[in-house]
């Protein structure tokens, strides 16, 4: 079970409170987690990564285990603690006014 924490706006959009818990059958990477997230919550498509290019949106960051994973390859395995459900993957809106 993978734990994902969404920013407030995306929790509202998805109609959820708290963490999202996802099952990922394959290797746990940014891509597979985001695929599972968008499959469960189709309204989130395009909000974390571009729908066409699948590139992370510039003002969205990905953190876990006190590390910034934003610039890791989307196919790199996420930390073991994320894959084991001990630590969440944090999807964060960049801190920039608004």
């Amino acid at each position: 079970m993978i734990r994902v924490v969404l920013p407030s706006h995306l929790r509202t959009l998805a109609g959820i409170d708290g963490e999202v818990h996802l099952d990922v059958d394959s290797e746990v990477t940014q891509r597979t987690v985001l695929d599972a997230l968008e499959c469960r919550f189709p309204m989130l498509r395009g909000t974390v990564r571009d729908q066409v290019t699948k590139q992370r949106r510039p003002f969205v960051r990905l953190f876990a285990c006190e590390q910034d994973l934003s610039h890791e390859s989307p196919d790199t395995a996420l930390p073991d603690a994320v894959a084991a459900g001990v630590e969440p993957l944090l999807i964060v809106g960049a801190m920039a006014g608004g």
């Binding site: 407030s8 706006h9 959009l13 498509r45 395009g46 909000t47 571009d50 066409v52």
Partner: protein, 371 residues
């Protein structure tokens, strides 16, 4: 009982304001999509309960929302906006070429006859259409692929397709306006496009009379005379009587002819409203006095309308999509400001009252006249 629904897009959400035909007491619903920029909310002329809203964010991109009950409830629909074919390039601020990039939807224009068909004008300038109530979007790429495309350039707000006008008498004809490219007309339902900017003159481009490159701010048409269009350009208020084949200036006695919004009276095709703004570097009313100007002669002769509007220390802006009219017997006129006010007049502009005063900055105002 007839009434009015005012659809307001703001920097921090959408608001739906409703009143009966008296237009004195208003119910305010919102914010919908709180915290998000709502560039435009538009209702279908064919089904007044069908609304579309463009929800956007610098963080999380573009979303599209649809309501089937007049704005009480909403559901996110499709937001996959992909350019068709070769992406191509346009001119950047510094004159270099830059690839087209989808950023957001500025304007939604529902079909006049089919509630499930809606057009979307995007930044970077492109036109999309959905025929399934917003679930899927397909670009009408003949516009973006026009041979003049590499000469289009962004205005201060980005290179946006901000105006879509559908001809109510010719179902194949439509107009679009792009900052800063100009006006384009299609006579084949959006497949091919022709620049129709003859008569426009603009500073800030190498050839002031060029076929494209003009920063058109908005267009307005009265449905009874679809060949007559009124334009608020960056500077200059303009008019065409031949569907854009030629334009002539009608700024006349306006104190400044810079501005963004323009609209036409619902029952008087020669009555036009603008909100003059001081200049391109001073986006607020002249002398701090918020004045709508009305021409009853199709332009050139303008009168200030001030009753009920602040006449001192007012430094708000009125953006391009922020003025609309209703079609009740006594035509209502509405506009929103960057100060968060939405002003309404139920007597063709003679007097004004704020419906609401303290919303986030208003990006757009549309009006539905309800049966």
């Amino acid at each position: 009982m007839s009434g009015v629904r005012v659809l307001v897009g703001t920097r921090k959400g959408a608001f739906v304001l409703t009143s009966d035909a008296g237009r004195e007491k208003w119910d305010v619903q919102g914010p919908h999509f709180a915290g998000w920029e709502i560039y435009h909310v538009a209702g279908s002329p064919a089904d007044h309960n069908r609304l579309y809203a463009s929800q956007t964010s610098g963080w999380f991109g573009q979303l599209m929302q649809r309501s089937d009950d007049g704005g009480y409830t909403w559901q996110p629909v499709g937001n996959a906006f992909a350019f068709d074919g070769d992406v191509g390039t346009h001119q950047w601020y510094d004159g270099t070429q830059r690839p087209w990039e989808f950023t957001r939807v500025w304007h939604l224009e529902p079909s006049l006859t089919d509630p499930d068909t809606v057009y979307a004008g995007a930044q970077d300038a492109a036109l999309f259409r959905s025929t399934d109530a917003g679930l899927t979007w397909r670009e009408l790429d003949g516009l973006r692929h026009h041979e003049t495309g590499p000469a289009w350039q962004p205005g201060a707000g980005g290179m946006c397709l901000h105006t879509i006008v559908l001809d109510p008498t010719r179902d194949q004809r439509m107009f679009t306006a792009i900052s800063a490219a100009g006006v384009f007309r299609s006579d084949d339902a959006g497949t091919t496009w022709k620049p129709v900017n003859k008569g426009l003159h603009s500073e800030g481009i190498p050839d002031g009379d060029a076929e494209v490159g003009h920063c058109v701010h908005s267009l307005a048409m009265h449905p009874s005379r679809p060949d007559v269009l009124f334009m608020q350009k960056h500077w200059d208020v303009m008019r065409t009587d031949d569907a854009g084949e030629s334009w002539h200036e009608i700024s006349g006695n306006l104190p400044t002819d810079f501005g963004f919004a323009i609209d036409v009276h619902a029952h008087e095709p020669e009555t036009v409203f603008v909100v003059p703004i001081t200049s391109d570097s001073k986006h607020y009313p002249l002398d701090g006095q918020l004045r709508v100007y009305r021409s009853r002669t199709g332009g050139n002769e303008w009168e200030p309308l001030t009753k009920g509007l602040p006449q001192s220390n007012c430094y708000v802006d009125v953006l391009r999509d922020s003025m609309a009219v209703d079609s009740l017997d006594s035509c209502g006129v509405y506009f929103g400001t960057t100060g968060g006010q939405v002003y309404a007049s139920s007597d063709s502009g003679d007097s004004w009252t704020p419906i609401v005063r303290d919303l986030p900055p208003v990006l757009s105002v549309e009006v539905q006249t309800l049966p």
